[in-house]
Each structure stands twice: as structure tokens, then as C-alpha cells.
């Protein structure tokens, strides 16, 4: 996995390069937006991390330029600006995620992982949450031993919904929408029953944490 880092502050850039390299990524770094296109022509990247406050062409302009040229590379914005407007406009321009400085390296690594996973799921139709492999096209989940888990239609829908948002809390209402057909009326108690059964079946591969009053989160073990 190769990551392109566009960051002008060498202290930050150096730490990110070291940190992500330790996680097993290959990281190329440039201090300005201008050379990015040239770099991308010669190399295949899985993700670009872009600082908004770049000298010369800034991060917003770079994101806009890349998307306008039809580049679908996952883009993670890092910035010292945390205004909602900055965040909204960066995401509107086509960035995939947004991280405000100062952040912790593990947080950055987790975001990178999630973005790369999401992008690869779109192409390979497969998601990996910890020890759990989810085959979206085949609508099946495999445990670490490679065995297919026996899931009901509703349990599968719940797992699929949670996996698409892994690491985030998914509300009960959203799960109800995910499993309910047009003519079905599913109570929140029913969701609890389905989740508890799913939790049992996932044992050893992943877990579903219930958040009181909010919903559920799929976590690796």
C-alpha cells in the first residue's frame, strides 16, 4: 500500500512518514501541491494525505483539481483549521475524510486503513474487520478459519450495515431501515434479539458493542 503525503511542515511530515511506515505503508512525501500530478502519473497510490494550509496552491485547490481531472484516489485532509465550514467545503470538494491537528498517529493510521478498505471494498467487494472477512458480492461472512458463518437474512443485513460503517456507531433506526422490507414493521426489541444472535455467531472473529440509547458498533477483537 502506497500513500502520498502532501505536507509542508517537515516536523509533521517526518513523523507521519515514520509512523505510517511502521504500520507497513510505503509513504512518499512532497511539500507542495504543484508536483502532485507528476508524482501520480508515475506511481500508483492507494491514498493521499493532504494538508490544507500548503504554500502556493492550497489543499482546497489541490482537491478540486484532482477531482476535476477525474482522479478517484481516496483523499484524507489534515488541517489546523477546524471550522465547520472548512470541513464541509473540503468534503464537498471531494475529500473522503477530514482530520484536525493535533491528532494522534494511531488515529491517522486508523483513518487511512478505513479509507483504503472502503476503496478496496468498492473494487473487490470484500471487507475485512479484524479476523472477519465479509464477501459483499456473495453475501457471506467468513471466520478466521475460513468457515462461512450461518447467518439469517436479517443478521446478514445487520452485519453488512455495521461493516460498512465499522468503527462508528450505527443507530438502531438505521439498522431497522437496513433490514425492514416495505411491508415489515420491526421493533427495536427485535433488533436487540437479532444483534444478540449475530454477536454469538461472530464470536472469535469480531464483536458487536451495544451503546446504550444510541445503537451498535462493529469492533475487531
Amino acid at each position: 500500500m502506497r500513500i502520498l503525503l502532501v505536507e509542508d511542515d517537515s516536523l509533521v511530515a517526518d513523523a507521519i512518514v515514520r509512523g505510517l511506515s511502521a504500520e507497513g505503508y510505503a509513504v512518499d512525501r512532497t511539500a507542495a501541491a504543484e508536483p502532485v500530478s507528476g508524482l501520480m502519473e508515475g506511481t500508483h497510490y492507494d491514498l493521499a494525505i493532504i494538508d490544507l494550509g500548503l504554500p502556493g496552491e492550497d489543499g482546497f485547490a489541490l482537491v478540486r483539481r484532482l477531482r476535476r481531472n477525474g482522479n478517484a484516489l481516496p483523499l484524507l485532509i489534515v488541517t489546523a483549521r477546524d471550522g465547520l465550514n472548512d470541513r464541509v467545503s473540503a468534503l464537498d470538494l471531494g475529500a473522503d475524510d477530514y482530520l484536525v491537528k493535533p491528532f494522534a498517529l494511531p488515529e491517522l493510521a486508523a483513518r487511512c486503513r478505513a479509507l483504503i478498505r472502503r476503496a478496496s471494498a468498492a473494487t473487490s467487494n470484500e471487507l475485512t474487520i479484524g479476523q472477519l472477512r465479509i464477501d459483499l458480492a456473495g453475501r457471506r461472512a467468513l471466520n478466521p478459519a475460513g468457515q462461512v458463518l450461518e447467518l439469517t437474512r436479517r443478521e446478514w443485513s445487520i452485519l453488512e450495515c455495521l461493516a460498512h460503517h465499522s468503527g462508528r456507531v450505527v443507530s438502531k433506526e438505521r439498522l431497522i431501515q437496513a433490514i425492514a422490507g416495505w411491508d415489515e414493521d420491526i421493533s427495536s426489541n427485535a433488533i436487540e434479539v437479532h444483534v444478540s444472535r449475530l454477536r454469538g455467531k461472530l464470536e472469535g472473529a469480531a464483536t458487536v458493542r451495544g451503546i446504550r440509547g444510541l445503537g451498535y458498533r462493529l469492533e475487531d477483537i
Binding site: 516536523l11 509533521v12 515514520r18 489546523a80 477546524d82 493535533p102 494511531p106 451503546i211
Partner: protein, 459 residues
Amino acid sequence: MLSYLLAPLSLLLVIGVAIDHQVIVNPIYSAFDRSLSRAALAIAAHIRRTPDGQLDIPVPDRPLAPLRSNAHEQFFYRVSTLDGRTVAGTADLPLVAAEKNSKGLDYADVTYRGTALRLVSYRTTEAGEPLVVTAGEIPFRRDRALHRMDVSFGINNSIQMLLMLSTALLGINIALRPLRRLREQIVGRAPQALSPLSTAQVPAEVRPLVDSLNTLLVSVRDSSLAQQHFLANAAHQLRTPLTGLKAQLEVLGQEASGSPLQARITQLHSGIDRLAHTANQLLALARAEPSAHLASHFTRVELHPLIAEVISSSLDRALQRDIDLGAECQPVQVHGVYWLLRETLLNLLDNAIRHTPVGGQITLRCGTEAGQPFLEVDDSGPGIPLAERERVRERFYHGAGSDGDSCGLGLSIVDEAARAHGAHFSILDSHGRHGARMRIDFPLPGDDTPPAARPVVKN
């Protein structure tokens, strides 16, 4: 104001009456003098010489009836020759020295038998013999007339003065009305509103005052904006190097894993974290201060998704400490600034996680009570003693229970943000057995004007 007017007006009243008295005293006295002289003339007219050459006055001691109108009045007369021999009347009545230019009538004030007397003498000639007729009266009547005049002048002037005073007060009252309106306009503003006052209904007299007030307001607003801008810039400038330091230390910590250096790196790391936290809080505080530009940030904010987002972002920290973090939400929305509410809730939750022991419970709530939306963060920590509840809102305050890791700005940000929303921030006891419950009560919905433009209800 009345007291300022009353003293000079009373003085004016006294002076006015005194002047009136001076003006009226001469005409009254001369009128009474004329009447006295008529009495003397009448007596002179009655003098007859008897055939034997003696002078005869048919009015003896008893004065003429019209001259004695009143019991208080005493009338005296004396007819004497030039050499002082009394022909008739009161023999010891003093005489009046003749004036050079007098036309036969002379006046004088004397004291006779211990009382004041007004005298007139009339020089006449009866059968070739010059005679002096002297008439005198106690000046009771003229004094009484003068006194009555004075009293009526006094009453008259007082009434005039009172009318003037009330007209003046009414006039002043009307003239001050625009100032009072201005005052209401100023009092009705939110304490932090620094937008210029409206000059639409201001009369010309007050216009310069409003203009200079507006100039002042604009300069205060500019300097407050400049200060906020500076703080925001400073915090931004701090963030990048802090990120670098933090990330470098994390890498260093991994590389030094297992070596004795690691403990020191961890110490450094927590120091950097505190610094980063403080920079963030300062930035939030600078932006929480309500000012004119905030009004455009107000939108409808759903509280339930906000709580979900805040819980999601803090969930891992809570789970690390085995804290049961949850929510009890009813759908409700408020008119507010999204990022400010998020910052507020993050601070309250951060605070709760810091103070809740391992294995504890934190519940975030939202809903409405008596129509008013509210937000609550309820923890099972030690709670905050009543005596400290006001002080913990102060900036940089560190209570007895604080761990030294916080910068003491969290609750001031909450307080500031609540005020920017026209909401009320209170610190209460937890619904559980122990702990603190931080609560924000929002104003009744339906009022979409930003709080900066709406009068603040003091409680």
C-alpha cells in the same frame, strides 16, 4: 431634578415678592397720606372765628365719623398757632417741621406715647392768623393693606411658580423621552452585542451622543474581533508544531519500546497532549465569545445526532476506563451554532470522563421540559460541592478534585457557549446516587432571532 429646581425657584419667589412690595409700598402710602391730609383739610375747613375773636373748632375731641372706620384706628388732631399754642385737639401731639417747598402740607413719622404715628400738618390762615392743623393716625390700615397686598402677591407668584415648575418638568420629561428610548435600546441589548445602535428614531439633539456611542462600540467590536482573530491565529499556529511534536514522540515511543527511555517519552507525550488540549480550549473560548459575526452561524440543530456524534468520538476513551457511556434522547432541535454546541458537549463529556471512576456510568440526555429544550451530561463521579459550583466556571480554575491534566477552561467554554445561545448552564446533582449533572436549558423554541439581537432575560 426637582430638588435642583426647587431651591433657586424659592429664592426667586422671595425676591419677586420683595420687589413687588417695594413697588407697591409708595403708592399705598401716598394714597393713605392723601386721605389723612383730606382729614386735616376738613378740620381746617371747620375752623371759624367767633364774633369775640376766639377760634372755634366745631369738631371737638371726637374725630370725623368717616375717618374712624375701625376700632383699631386711633385718630389725633391738633390745631395750633405758629408759636406752638394749642387752639384745639390733643395738646401734646408732636408738630411737623415745615418743609421748604411744601405746598402747605408736610408729613412725618413720629412716635407718640409709645406708638408709631403718621402725621400731616396743614398750614392755613384764619382771619389773618396763621394756624397749623396737624392730623395723625396709627398706620394700622395702611400696614394691613400693604400686608394683604404682600400676601396676595405671594400667593400669586407661588401659583405662577408652580405652574412654571410643572410646565418645565413636563417639558424636560418630553425632551428626555428620546434619551429614555435610547437607554431602553441599550439596556435591551445582549451584554456582548457590539453592533451599532440604530439611529432611525433618534432626534437631532441626541444624535451626536448616539454617533459617539456608535464610534465607541465599533472600536470596541473591532478590538474584540482583532483579539479573537489573534487568539484563533495563535492557536492555529500552535497546532502544526504540536502535531509534529506529538507524532514524533509517538514514533520515538514505539522505537524506544522496552527501553528505559520510554517512560520519559510517555511523560513528554502527556505534556504535549496537555499543551494541545489547552491550545484547543483557548481557540474554542475565543470563538465562543458571542460577537456580531456569530449571528450568521445560527441554524436549526438536532440535538440527538449531535449527541450521537459526540459519544462516537469519545467512546474509545470511555471504554478504556470501562465506563458505560450512553444516551437517553428525545428528538428535539434548538436554534444554535452547530460547532459551538458540539464543542460544549465535548467539553462536558470530557469533563465527565475525567471525573468518573473506572467502571462508572455517564449518560447524555436531550429533550424538552415545559417546552424548553435541554441537554444534560450525567456522571457517576464524585460530583461538585455546592460551594464550588460557581467557581468551577471561572477560567483556569482548578478544583480540589481536578487531576492537573485539565487546563480549567472546559466549563468556562460551556458557560460562554450557553450564554451565546441565550441558554442557562447549571450544575446539579446526578440523578444517580452520586455524581454531577451538567445541564443546559435553552430558551423556548419558535424565536429564530439570534440571541445577540434579542434582549437577555436576567434571572
